[in-house]
Symmetry: C2
Subunit: 110 residues, 2 copies
DNA sequence: TCTCTATATGTAGACAGTCTAGTTATCGGG
DNA sequence: CCCGATAACTAGACTGTCTACATATAGAGA
């Protein structure tokens, strides 16, 4: 996987794994890794800034918790985050359709 | 379409429209616009640097021509470019599958 | 006990590709 | 004569991702 192919789509993935249940950062990382079949091992230097960005945007809400002597910041999808996720999904569908249309060999549509 | 959703996938699109026939920059722009159903109007500030990058990489070969008093630089896909295109197509398939897997609502695979 | 791994969060700075906005130039139509 | 389409190109801004680093706890195993 090219390193920056995700550019512009990472937010969607994070919102998607937070849809089912609130997770803390490290768990988000693992959830994405699992649901991508191991293909995506996103570095913490990508994840944490993205989470803060999403929080600033009001799409997730973070809360500190102590669990077994370790501090965790658990993020929960907000209403605005749900709407953003729906928009991201629609956007992805459009984007994928466009790329596949151009990438498809042979026919050039009228 | 988010402005930088293409990030990392533009090269693939350019190589794809050059697969059928050699085109000059402006024609590449139009070909992508047409084959994307009008969704992608990529600015020349994105296109021309990308073409030069692809030429430096040896994936396309450019040649100056004069047509009706206007100079054109026509780009042709090289053998290496064909291989790169095949690789980009495979990469896109993988990428799309991964994103869709994570984005898909409901089930979290084991 | 000591060490190593996994857990857990975060920052600083590099990097690179895309975009904005601009330049130059020819041709054809109104 | 001017304007829009064609045609190519650059400088610099922008921004999101990555590399590498820093910190700290818990638990397993030697």
């Amino acid at each position: 996987m090219k390193s920056d192919a995700l550019r512009g789509h990472l937010d969607a993935l994070i919102l998607a794994v937070l849809e089912k249940e609130p997770l803390h950062g490290y768990a988000v990382m693992q959830a994405i890794q699992v649901s991508s079949g191991g293909a995506l091992e996103l570095p913490t230097g990508s994840l944490y800034p993205a989470l803060r960005r999403l929080e600033r945007a009001g799409y997730v809400q973070g809360e500190w918790r102590m669990v077994g002597g370790r501090r965790r910041r658990t993020y929960e999808l907000t209403k605005a985050g749900e709407r953003a996720l729906a928009a991201e999904r629609a956007e992805w569908r459009d984007f994928a359709a466009v790329v596949e249309g151009v990438l498809r060999p042979g026919t050039t549509p009228a």
